[in-house]
């Protein structure tokens, strides 16, 4: 259940996608998202999906694992699909009971589902193939120009890397506490929604306490090592563009252009 959240979880590997510079990956996935949101063309969207699946394939992350990230948003997808199918204006297609299904509605539903799928797959692929450290490094570098207008870029990046770093830790902790309370007879699966929510109190209270304890420990550790923000800090691993990045960007841009062609033609 908890283990299904793949966002922010690194899947170790040695593929081209893993080796590519985080900046390249971030920009490319952002571009993909922009295109997916701008286009209304079904063919473009399908191409985008095919392209993201190919990218997953190239990363050697099992497809089922990459798609796990879709599980939590499945309800949202279903919801929008149902809403779109039954409550859109347009040419009536057929009628079930009192609800009229329109041609436009079905099309819109398919488009929305495709969009969300590409969105989640694309962004999970970035986090699955990039270690949290590199990811925030990349984000920090990309946001660097904002420092000129006094945006605390380094601090934001630091907060992100701490958050990302602690996702697996807290997840493991959650699982441990769930196990311990289950062993004491706690039951998380039966009852109505309120009973279920209440049954999580024995998990949430210890989890919060441990999160605060960890935060406190981390703050002490950082302070005792004289951490004082980004000023004059150097990195152990400098980000450098390599040939792989050229190739990856090239392939990606080609893919993006391919996606846009149907949009211009029709």
């Amino acid at each position: 259940m908890i283990g299904d959240i793949t966002l922010g979880q690194y899947y170790p590997g040695n593929s081209v996608v893993h080796k590519a510079d985080p900046r390249v990956k971030i920009i490319m996935s952002l571009l993909l998202m922009v295109i997916v949101f701008l286009t209304d063309n079904l063919l473009s969207l399908s191409l985008a999906l095919v392209f993201s699946i190919l990218a997953v394939y190239a990363s050697k992350v099992p497809l089922s694992y990459a798609f796990k990230g879709l599980k939590p948003v499945m309800i949202i997808i279903l919801f929008t699909v149902v809403l779109n199918v039954f409550f859109s204006d347009g040419t009536p297609w057929f009628t079930i009971w009192k609800l009229t299904v329109t041609y436009e509605g079905v099309m819109r539903a398919i488009r929305t589902a495709l969009r969300i799928t590409v969105l989640i797959t694309g962004s999970s692929l970035v986090t699955l193939t990039t270690t949290p450290l590199l990811l925030t490094d990349g984000i920090e570098k990309l946001l660097n120009p904002l420092k000129k207008i006094k945006v605390p870029v380094h601090e934001i990046a630091m907060m992100m890397s701490i958050a990302l770093r602690f996702i697996p830790v807290l997840m493991e902790e959650t699982q441990k506490i769930i196990k311990a309370q289950t062993a004491r007879g706690a039951d998380f699966d039966t009852g109505n929604i309120f009973q279920k929510a209440k049954s999580f109190i024995p998990v949430l209270v210890p989890l919060f306490i441990s999160a605060f304890r960890r935060a406190d420990d981390l703050a002490t550790a950082m302070e005792s090592r004289c951490y004082r923000g980004g000023e004059n800090r150097t990195r152990m691993k400098q980000l450098r563009m390599t040939k792989i990045d050229l190739v990856v960007s090239g392939v990606f841009v080609l893919g993006l252009i391919l996606m846009m062609i149907p949009d211009f033609l029709f």
Binding site: A183, R184, G185, A186
Partner: protein, 282 residues
Amino acid sequence: MAIEINNLSHIYNKETVMEKTAVHDITLTIQDGEKVGIIGHTGSGKSTLVQHLNGLLKPHSGSVTVNGIDTKSKEIKELRKIVGMVFQYPEHQLFEETVYKDIAFGLKKQYEFTQEEMDVRIRAAALAMSISDELMEKSPFELSGGQKRRVAIAGVLVTDPRILVLDEPTAGLDPRGRDELFQSLEEINRTKNTTIIIVSHSMEEVAGFANRILVMNKGTVAMDTTPDKAFEDVDLLESMGLSAPQVTYMARAISGVIKDFPTRIHTVEAMVKELMKVVKHP
């Protein structure tokens, strides 16, 4: 009425690159009332093995049967009543407003007793763990580390499990807390014939408490014997990242000087006894 483990294997993250066989083809039987110590290097699969006993983990192959209940069957609630499990750092599972309520949690979840019956059991569990009455209405978060640990263990004991599993229960306890814990466990085993399975790093602890020792190595049971036999082959133990109790090494050293001095000594008490013999009749 026993624990039967047949060809048990467990694999974490099956079919991914992180795949890890944590327990491999283990077969063993544990009888009622036994005091079993499980020792092994970190990562040898001790925790994975014991979490199969109450169905928290399910076998990927093989089977685990406790008092005739297969852990894969639907009678999981019944199973959890029989097997009490104390995890490593159990104090991290405390959550209620008062110590009393926290101990009561498992009892409320697993049984339907009247208020009076519950009260009797809660106080009995508290007594078994030497938790004094004035602590009962305090918040569990105000207590010291050792007190928290005892409260958490009482929260498992309260349902009166026939089998009690403790995963490294003494980690981070001071010597006195450790001794008290073992005394309590000894008492529970003696008065109720409760099976006690204890996972530990410390050879001293296990040698003094268990009457059977399972040595785990790389997901398998490398030895299944009495403390006497287990600590005989020190080289084998050391090759698995373990050691014998310190007094055992001492006994060996002495036997090099004093002829006929026994080498099968694993507890300080036994050592004292043997040394006294030597001192009295030189």
